[in-house]
């Protein structure tokens, strides 16, 4: 019995039909019937059309749609003047090409395609939407599903894909006929070309008399086709990779199986984290297991990328292993692979890998290490790819010398900067040209028969090692938004620009009236030298009763950044400013950050002030929050502030206030340390730039002055006070920051190293115990040892995170590192979005203004937090990568230095050494150390014995102090300049 779908005419121009389908979700199966309305007044959006302007109706805002399609579209010999209709597969694979300015103008996007794209990939959907919105590319969405002329209902036994393909073809057919019939006769003939990479669909289109071509053929036939061909992504159809079947990865399980397995607890879902030392080993943290599951080997990793959401299945107990102690880099493993053909056919794993796996398996079964055996797993499904744009460069080996000059398209490998990712096979005509350049590639697919993922070239960033290319590369790699602010964002800024002034009349509107005038307070700011975005300032004044009035004044960013504006959206999206060695990527436009909000000296500025009354022991007696107006008396750098405080001849009130602040801050710090706050260390360095040439000059470790900690203590105090206040006012949605206690398993290896090598241990009972035990771990022979240990302990910590208060119970709010019950970020709204939200919530809590809905809604707050957590992490990584790059450049200039280093990790075939002076760590491989065959790895004692280059027996172990020679070398694989360490 076929389901005949009735159509019923409701009124002229409006017809109703029915859609019946089965919704299968979470194992259920529901019949869903929905009514679907069709109309006859959907315009074609072509300027050449004489009919549609007549029938078009305005929308709800009384706006008429814009007819974007040009009346003289692009001409190609084969197609004449033509519009393009896109198929879904084209949008999904070639969105970069669609965004290209030189091609794909006057494009019709059928609604069916738009919906299919949305279901398949939301990021691509938003990009397509953006294309359709902007007028320059002339993309028009045609709502074919709602047009009486183009709606098709599903036939009996027709798959939904076939039905959609038919709907798109119907749409092409309609446009062609419509244009032929209603085209302004003064305009030349306009054809409709259907671009589609599905041969079956194209054939069906050709059968219906629709001009259809594959993407490659279409681009080739364009007048400027030659230049564009490189941007055409790799696809099944068209000139695809002619490689043999190199390998066979296990197929992924069906969705049904995955969902069933996850539900009954036999499969686990999580995000895979591939080791940066060993590209064949990944771990995945699953709530069901205390320790992360290990995934070892190419086959078990099964085409996953670092960061993918995957589903794993446990391997039998016989295959459980201890984590690998070996460094495995892809370049050494597959150096001989040729991009053009695969290696020996029918081989699933290379022998080298197999041996490696065997070795692992043997070790796992050996008795003495049985306690460290961890369960292993294999990946059986990937729920969400983490694919983005990747930066890398073409592997020289993969481009044969003789073909570098030829213009023919050929396959080559792109080695990505991120070592935990496999190389990507792309097809390009410009391989020779692109050698030695940083290029951006996109990943298209990873078929189960291919050893490598397949992708396509997106753009070149410039020569390897050029500052501009490297900076852009690291921004891209850490998905930092670095485009200039859009016009819409800039329109939200005050019209007066730099001339904006705090109003002189303080009885203006109600908001001004609510502000406190603190211009008489002796406020000053203390920041790093050269700081232009000053977001905090302080003052202290002794009260008649001997207590102190201390004020922290924070730039009032939310006075300018109002919720639900493009400016706010941009800030929320960027989440944080990113600080690179030579560059700052702002979260908010410069006008606000460095001028209007910045608490510059000698001018009036709006501020958000926290005023405490503190007694002489720095106990809080009273806390108040005010929107205020301040006038900073002076902007100090840390050094200058220190000098002024130390200079006994200075006896003015401002200096006295600063001395009081310093005094109080020392007491605050002691209180904090007594409560168990941690004093952790990271090897932070600063690169001095030669201001003339912008060449990096020298590297130094950041020095900390007492004034640094002065500012820090009061900022912490302000953050804690604000956190309490907004949590009181908004118990469910207050923007807070927590730092979870590290699980004991994180410290297992470090503690074991300490026990074996130094006979010391770290206690994890509480943050206080941890802090005390860290203090006790002192090696009299080695003054740096304690700092080294703190650096290593820091790496075992959990990352702090933003969260809305409703997400955790009060006990879990705790900030472990600061030993504070509750914490938030309030003091840097110019460069952190969390602070912006905290400002708005505090303003609402003190009744200054009402709170926007998005900060009162738990789900919205969770989204905000998720984004700023990610951005915050990425910004940190980008900053570190920038330092790493510049340190590499510095090395280039003073090569062959001998420096002190410490061994922090021992593998069976190499060691990792940290050089505190430069804050770098480097891997020294066994081959470099000495005779690889004589090496004996003792994983109980974390030591490695070997014969060095001179044939002398040597044993080195973790924590050991070594002298290393640092050479700056260009890593041949990633073309990253790296410090190459050699043991002296």
């Amino acid at each position: 019995m076929s389901t005949v779908i009735p159509k019923k005419r409701l009124a002229s121009g409006l017809t109703v039909t029915q859609k019946v389908f089965v919704r299968s979700r979470n194992g259920g199966a529901t019949k869903v019937v929905s009514e679907h309305y069709l109309r006859d007044d959907i315009p074609c959006y072509s300027k050449a059309c004489t009919r549609c302007p007549e029938i078009v109706k305005p929308d709800a805002n009384n706006q008429y749609p814009n007819f974007v399609l040009s009346d003289s579209p692009v001409y190609a010999e084969k197609y004449g003047h033509h519009y393009v209709v896109l198929d879904t597969n084209i949008v999904l694979l070639a969105i970069d090409l669609l965004e290209n300015k030189d091609a794909f103008c006057d494009v019709i996007v059928p609604q069916t395609v738009l919906e299919e794209v949305r279901n398949r990939s939301f990021p691509i959907y938003t990009r397509l939407r953006a294309l359709c919105k902007s007028d320059e590319k002339r993309f028009a969405v045609f709502h074919n599903e709602f047009s009486e002329d183009t709606f098709v209902s599903r036939l009996l036994n027709e798959t939904i894909n076939d039905r959609n393909d038919r709907a798109i073809r119907r749409c092409c057919d309609y446009f062609q006929k419509h244009l032929n019939q209603h085209r302004d006769k003064k305009v030349k003939q306009i054809n409709v070309v259907f671009v589609c990479n599905d041969k079956k669909n194209r054939d069906a289109a050709a059968g219906a008399g629709i001009m259809a071509d594959s993407l490659v053929d279409y681009v080739t036939n364009l007048p400027n086709g030659e230049d564009l061909l490189d941007f055409v992504p790799n696809m099944e159809d068209g000139p695809s990779f002619s490689h043999k079947k190199e390998t066979k990865f296990p197929d992924y399980y069906t969705t049904a199986r995955l969902m069933g397995g996850i539900k009954n607890g036999t499969l686990y879902q999580g995000s895979i984290n591939i080791s940066s030392y060993n590209f064949l080993e990944g771990t995945i943290s699953v709530p069901s297991f205390k320790k992360p599951l290990i995934i070892m080997g190419r086959e078990n990793l099964n085409r996953s990328f670092n960061g993918d959401q995957v589903v794993v299945e446990l391997l039998p107990k016989s295959k459980w292993k201890t984590p690998s102690n070996e460094i495995v880099e892809e370049e050494n493993m597959d150096a001989n692979d040729n991009a053009e053909d695969g290696d020996s056919p029918n081989e699933i794993i290379s022998d080298k890998e197999r041996l490696f796996l065997l070795k692992e398996a043997q070790k796992a079964s050996s008795e003495e290490s049985s306690t460290r055996i961890q369960p292993t797993a294999k990946i059986v499904g990937i729920t969400k790819r983490s694919w983005r744009f990747y930066v890398g460069q073409i592997s020289e080996n993969s481009v044969a010398k003789d073909s570098r000059t030829s213009n023919a398209a050929r396959n080559c490998f792109v080695i990505l900067m991120d070592r935990s990712l496999p190389k990507i096979r792309i097809r390009t005509r410009k391989a020779g040209e692109l050698l030695g350049q940083r290029i951006v590639v996109a990943v298209d697919s990873w078929p189960s028969t291919s050893k490598y993922p397949e992708g396509h070239f997106v753009k070149s960033l410039g020569a390897i090692e050029s500052v501009q290319a490297e900076t852009e590369a690291l921004l891209l790699e850490h998905s930092v938004e670095y485009k200039p602010f859009s016009k819409k964002v800039l329109e939200c800024l005050p019209k007066e620009g730099h001339d904006w002034k705090v109003p002189t009349k303080l009885d203006g509107d109600e908001f001004i009236k609510k502000r406190k005038d603190f211009r008489d307070k002796l406020v000053c700011s203390i920041d790093p030298p050269g700081c232009v975005d000053i977001d905090d300032a302080l003052h202290a004044k002794q009260l008649p009763d001997g207590n102190w009035e201390v004020g922290v004044h924070i730039a009032d960013v939310t006075n300018f950044v109002k919720p639900n504006t493009p400016l706010d959206a941009e800030g929320a999206y960027r989440g944080t400013s990113v600080y690179l060695v030579d560059k700052r990527i702002d979260m908010l436009p410069e006008l606000l950050g460095t001028d209007l909000c910045s608490l510059k000296p000698y001018v009036d500025r709006f501020a958000f002030s926290v005023i405490w009354t503190l007694d002489n022991d720095a106990n809080i007696i009273d806390t108040n929050f005010h929107k205020s107006i301040i006038r900073s008396r002076e902007a100090f750098s840390y050094e200058r502030a220190q000098l002024r405080i130390d200079d006994a001849s200075q006896q003015d009130d401002l200096t006295k206030g600063m001395r009081a602040l310093l005094d109080l801050s020392i007491k605050l710090k002691q209180q904090r340390l007594d409560a168990g706050a941690l004093n952790l260390a990271s090897p932070e360095v600063k690169v001095h730039m030669d201001s003339e040439t912008a060449d990096p000059g020298e590297v130094e470790i950041k020095k900390l002055l007492a004034t640094n900690s002065l500012v820090e203590e009061f900022m912490l105090l302000a953050n804690i006070s604000v956190a309490k206040k907004i949590y009181d006012a908004f118990p469910q949605t207050a923007m807070l920051r927590r730092h979870a206690a590290p699980p004991a398993t994180n410290f297992e290896v470090l503690n074991e190293m300490l026990r074996v090598r130094k006979n010391m241990s770290i206690s994890l009972d509480s943050s206080k115990a941890l802090a005390d035990s860290l203090d006790r771990c002192v090696d009299p022979q080695d003054p740096y040892f304690n700092t080294l240990l703190r650096i290593m302990a820091t790496r075992c910590m959990m990352a702090a995170e933003y969260f809305p208060s409703g997400m955790f119970s009060y006990g879990e709010f705790r900030h472990y590192g600061l030993a504070s019950e509750i914490y938030t970020h309030f003091t840097s709204p110019i460069r952190r979005y969390c602070d912006v939200v905290a400002h708005r919530q505090l303003a609402a809590a003190i009744g200054y203004e009402s709170l926007d809905f998005s900060h009162r809604d738990k789900d919205k707050m969770e989204l905000i937090c998720k984004n700023i957590n990610k951005r915050h992490r990425n910004a940190q990584f980008a900053g570190r990568a920038s330092i790493e790059y510049y340190v590499g450049q510095v090395m280039k200039n003073n090569n062959n230095d001998t420096q002190e280093g410490y061994i922090i990790k021992v593998f069976s075939n190499g060691i990792v050494v940290l050089v505190p002076k430069f804050g770098i760590e480097g891997l020294i491989k066994l081959e470099v150390l000495g005779d690889a065959n004589s090496a004996k790895f003792d994983d109980e004692n974390f030591s490695l014995s070997f014969k060095d280059q001179n044939g002398d027996a040597k044993t080195i172990s973790v924590f050991e102090h070594v002298n290393v020679q640092i050479k700056s070398v260009l890593d041949p694989a990633t073309s990253k300049r790296k410090a190459q360490l050699v043991l002296v």
């Binding site: 019995m1 076929s2 389901t3 029915q18 019946v20 389908f21 089965v22 919704r23 299968s24 979470n26 194992g27 259920g28 199966a29 019949k31 019937v33 599903r154 009996l156 036994n157 027709e158 798959t159 939904i160 069906t254 969705t255 049904a256 199986r257 969902m259 069933g260 397995g261 539900k263 009954n264 036999t266």
Partner: protein, 316 residues
């Protein structure tokens, strides 16, 4: 519709005589005409509607849900609503039980059709709404006067609804004994399968009654007993004065349980309730055996005709 004592007496006399005369002139084995249609509820997996000329009406909706298996008896749930009467009335739960049990007992091989995998089954929700001709005359939610026994009509409705029921097509693995899978289904409604597949070669097999009826839902027939006479599908007047009622099930070509006596007089006046002989039951079974096959064939015609409303005249 309230009869005086003499009217009732007259009715009783004419029905209990050797050559009984039914008030509407039907033969004793003749059913009333019905108007029936199927698949009129778009959101249900199967549905049917039956109307009688006296204005009473029964609406059946069947919906399916995927459940993890517990016991077979849990796979069918039946909910009976009569007019706006309270649902905790004894006779409503009695009727619900009769209907549900007859379905469960005669569904045996059909449970296979509901089986999706070794773990998952379809559960059927049968919702029955009966609107009696006298619903407007009711004053309270417990007033059951002039309520005719609807079992027969409802069972016809369920028969039609079940035969029009379509179940989503499983596309995931059906063997999940060792490896659990969450069932997934084809999203195309036209790919769904009928719970009771329609035989393509029905014409050929028409003569072979047993085979044709081998997979049909059960039917219930209500008989009214007046002395030695039996009347199939008694009208409200006949029910009022019956000695006793009898319900007989029929499925797959033979008489099946339930074979039970019933109180047909819902008004509560017990003056006419008398009971029956064993002979009545044997005669009743005989009568059903003669009539039922025709009824089910007639109902099958409705199913074949699909959505169109079919008026079945008193052909039975």
């Amino acid at each position: 519709m309230s009869f005086s004592v003499s009217e009732k007496d007259y009715l009783y006399q004419s029905l209990s005589s050797k050559t009984p005369i039914r008030p509407d002139g039907r033969k004793s084995h003749q059913l009333r005409g019905i108007e029936a249609s199927i698949n009129f509820l778009p959101n249900s997996n199967g549905s049917s509607r039956i109307r009688l000329s006296d204005g009473s009406e029964v609406i059946i909706s069947i919906k399916s849900k995927v459940v993890k298996m517990s016991t077979l008896a849990d796979l069918i749930e039946l909910d009976l609503t009569i007019d706006n009467l309270r649902d905790d009335l004894t006779f409503i739960s009695d009727w619900t039980n009769i209907l549900r049990n007859s379905l469960l007992r005669n569904f045996a091989d059909k449970f296979e059709c509901l089986k999706l995998t070794t773990r998952y089954y379809f559960k059927l929700y049968v919702d029955v709404l009966f609107l009696s001709s006298s619903s407007n005359a009711r004053t309270t939610k417990t007033d059951t006067s002039f309520l005719q026994n609807p079992l027969s009509m409802i069972s016809f409705g369920i028969y039609l609804a079940l035969k029009s029921t379509r179940l989503p097509l499983l596309i995931s693995n059906s063997n999940d004994k060792d490896i659990e899978e969450l069932p997934t289904f084809n999203d195309d409604w036209s790919s769904t399968v009928l719970l009771y597949p329609q035989d393509e070669d029905e014409e050929i097999k028409e003569n072979n009654t047993t085979s044709q009826n081998s997979s049909s839902p059960p039917l219930l027939f209500v008989l009214s007993v007046v002395k030695n006479n039996l009347f199939i599908d008694p009208s409200i007047e006949e029910q009022e004065i019956s000695d006793c009622g009898l319900v007989i099930g029929w499925c797959s070509g033979k008489v099946v349980s339930p074979i039970e006596s019933l109180n047909l007089n819902q008004s509560g006046s017990s003056e006419y309730i008398k009971g029956m002989h064993g002979q009545n039951i044997i005669e009743g079974i005989k009568m059903i055996e003669n009539v039922a096959a025709t009824v089910s064939k007639g109902l099958d015609e409705i199913v074949k005709d699909g959505n169109n409303s079919v008026f079945m005249d008193s052909i039975f």
